[in-house]
Structures are given as structure tokens and as C-alpha cells.
Amino acid sequence: MNIIIPIITMGIIGFGLALGLAFAYRKFKVEVDPRIEEIAAALPQANCGACGFAGCQALAEALVAGKAQTNACPVGGNEVAARVAAILGVEAAPVIKKVARLHCRGTHEAAPTKGKYLGINTCLAAHLIGGYKLCSYGCLHFGDCVRSCQFDAMRLAEDGLPIIDEEKCTACGKCVEACPRNLLELHPVEENILVFCRSKDRPAVARKVCRNACIACNICVRACPEAIIMEDNLAKIVDWKKIPEEKIPAIEKCPTGAIGRLKKEERKEIKPEQVETEISS
């Protein structure tokens, strides 16, 4: 007999709660647009946040609400944009493939150090104390960007600068955020000319702290004044589409090589832990 009472009691409690939940489920049901789930499934599920939303689910909600463009996902490219557009029943906007590019050529060799750096081996920590290089704008070589890359598209080269694999780069922008000196920027793949420097130092200083710095000599500006300007001692490409092919040789006369085409060159890779901070000239 003793076993009957507990069974009945627990049965009643369980049944009562189940009823309550079932009732509440009906009463408090939140209607969700079924397209949200479909779009979320079509997105890459990398949850990288490159679209500017909190994740793939959030982007799916924004897409259905009409707050985002079908090409908002830079990781998925045209393919995902087409699928999303199909679900939403709209025309797909074309995706311009972008990649991260480095605006610095201050290698170990080109940009000397102030002295030996003994702090924590991250760019962020080194940047907080003002860096250990004479150039206060250039790359710090610890590879915060390399560590931030979720897509295995970045490696640190032996010369200290990151190598970006443009095939693997999805323009998620994680490295752009990771770099404390803002040396990385997203550019369309077709953009074939770049300023490889972010130094705003006066020409005399820039020349001293890095061999590859922009020294504001204005050669490139004279070569193509309609697309290049000089701002704070630093050349700036205002609109790369306005630079005609035949003017590029004249622009590439840059005495320090701080502006020009991207060159493909083989560089030896190293691990971020192997960074040596005392290689100075």
C-alpha cells in the first residue's frame, strides 16, 4: 500500500505541471516567421559577426525584417546571397568580394627598434606602452591579427609582417579589429594599388624610423592628382578606380616603395611565438 501514495502524488504533480506547461505554451506562444529559420540554415553559420549583426541568427532576423541587404554576409559571397534572395523572393544584390590588406611594410629589417621589448607578446600590450619600434604607426609583429583569424587565412612571415591568403580571406574584419594600430583594412579584391604605410610622421622623422615609410614627397600625387592626395604627411588613394593603368609606373617611382601594386612574393612563415623583438639594424 505504501507505494501507491507516492506514485499517485508524483503522478498528480507531474500531470498538473504538464497541463500547465501545455496551456502556457499555447497562451504564450510567440509567432516566429518560418523564413528566419530557413535563412539561418542557408547562412554559413560561422557566427563571425562580419555582417555587423550578433551572429547568423541575428542576421536572418534582420533580413526578414528588411533591415539588411541580401548581400550582407561577406563570408558566404554570391552563392549565399542568391539562396537568401530566393527564400525572401527578391533580386540578389551582387557581392563585391573584399579581402583584408596590410598598410605597412615596416619589416624587422626596414623599421628599427628602440630597444629590447620584454613585455607580454601581443601587439595590444606592446601598443599600450607606445610600442618598441621607432615608428609609432607601424606593425608590431606579434601577430594579434593572425591569432584573430578564424579562417586560417593569415600567417606571420619571417620579416615580421602578416601574410594574407586572399583565397581564404572572407573579409570578416576580425583582424581589422584586432590590430591596435589599425594597419589592416578591407579592400575589394580588384583594387590593385595600395598605400603601404600609415605613418603620419613628418618626412624627416618618417625617413629615419622606417626605410619603407611614406615620406610625403608628392611624387605619386603629381603623377595622378585626380586620385591621390597628401593628407597629414601620408599619401592617400581617394578613388582607386580613377587611376588609369598607364599612370601606375609613374606612381610606382615612389622612392620608398610606400605606394604601388600588390606584389606576390614568397615569404617564409613563422609561428607568432617565435617573434624576436631585438632584430634591429
Binding site: I5, P6, T9, M10, I13, G20, F28, I120
Partner: protein, 191 residues
């Protein structure tokens, strides 16, 4: 007076995290940043208060009259899980912003040992209804205090040079141990 004693005891002296070592999973998992840890603390406080109320009712109205004290664990789990689910649905419908802030943490803590610990301790000590509710709220506040302290320390630790073998969980547990030691200093307040 006894309510004050319960309050101070649950927040400082017999803190659930540092004294009973309950609720360590969310304590270590969500204590990386100050903001989320505060939300977690609030969610735990909420669920603990709810637990205190429901477990007292089920214990005193159903179990004890029928002489079924030995079913406490099972029935508490049942009632708490169902109730939190219910509240989650309710919040989702009524207040989406609150759901956004707290919703993801609620399912995480319903089955945590801190919840069970509170219900069983309150039953064991024969607290009356008001005492149980105060006990629940102060246990939650104690947890919030613990997790916010921890998050503040861990944010600083991120910038410190921690030896390789101790990075991550190692240093977090050492930190928790040291805070627990410090909290032992409160044990003289109430005789």
C-alpha cells in the same frame, strides 16, 4: 532579527559558491566579463527566489502532509524545471528585452546544483515561508557578489603574465580558492 542573520549568513558567511561550492559551473563559465556575469547573477537570484517559493509550497502542502519527505529531490527538480520553463515563456511573450538579457541564462541554471542545494537546505533547516524566501534572495545576491568579484578579477588577469601551465581554468580556480579563503574571514560575524 533571524531574517537578518539568514541574509548575512547566505551572502557572506555561508556563501553558496565559496562555502558550499555550489553553482561552480556558471560561476566559472560566465565570469569572463563583468556585463554578462552581472546578468547571470540577476538570473540566478531570480530563479533562486522562485525556487524558494515553489519548493516551500510543494514541501509543506504536498510532501509533509503525506509523509513523503523522501521524495523531496525528485519533486523539487520537477517543479523547479517546469516553473522556470513557464516563466521563460511568460517573459518571452511579455517582455522581449528582458528575455534577450536573461533568457539564455535561464535554461542554463535550472538544473544547477545551487538551485537544488537551496531547496534542500531550506527544507532541512525547517525555515518558514518568509525565511525561505529571504534565504533564496540572499543566496542569489551572494552568488551575484561572488561572480561579479570574480569577473572583475579575471578581466584584470587577462592582461597579466600568467605562467603557461596555469592559464585559463587553472588560474581561475586558484583565484576562486583565494577569494573563498578571504570569505572565511567573515565566519566570526555571527555566533
Amino acid at each position: 532579527m533571524s531574517l537578518l542573520v539568514i541574509f548575512i549568513s547566505a551572502v557572506l558567511i555561508n556563501n553558496f559558491v565559496f562555502y558550499y561550492f555550489l553553482g561552480l559551473c556558471p560561476y566559472l563559465g560566465v565570469s569572463r566579463r563583468l556585463g554578462p556575469s552581472l546578468s547571470m547573477g540577476m538570473a540566478v537570484t531570480f530563479v533562486l527566489s522562485l525556487t524558494a517559493v515553489s519548493s516551500w509550497m510543494i514541501n509543506h502542502w504536498v510532501l509533509i502532509p503525506n509523509g513523503l519527505d523522501y521524495l523531496q529531490i525528485v519533486s523539487f527538480i520537477l517543479v523547479i524545471a517546469a516553473l522556470v520553463q513557464l516563466v521563460e515563456m511568460f517573459i518571452r511573450k511579455v517582455s522581449p528585452p528582458l528575455y534577450q538579457a536573461m533568457g539564455i541564462y535561464l535554461p542554463l541554471i535550472t538544473t544547477n546544483c545551487i538551485i537544488m542545494g537551496l531547496a534542500l537546505l531550506a527544507a532541512l533547516r525547517n525555515y518558514n515561508f518568509v525565511e525561505t524566501v529571504v534565504f533564496g534572495i540572499s543566496a542569489g545576491l551572494g552568488f551575484t557578489l561572488a561572480i561579479v568579484l570574480m569577473a572583475a578579477i579575471r578581466e584584470q588577469l587577462d592582461l597579466a603574465d600568467v605562467p603557461k601551465p596555469l592559464q585559463g581554468a587553472g588560474i581561475a580556480l586558484i583565484t576562486a580558492g583565494i577569494i573563498a579563503l578571504a570569505f572565511m574571514g567573515f565566519s566570526g560575524i555571527i555566533k
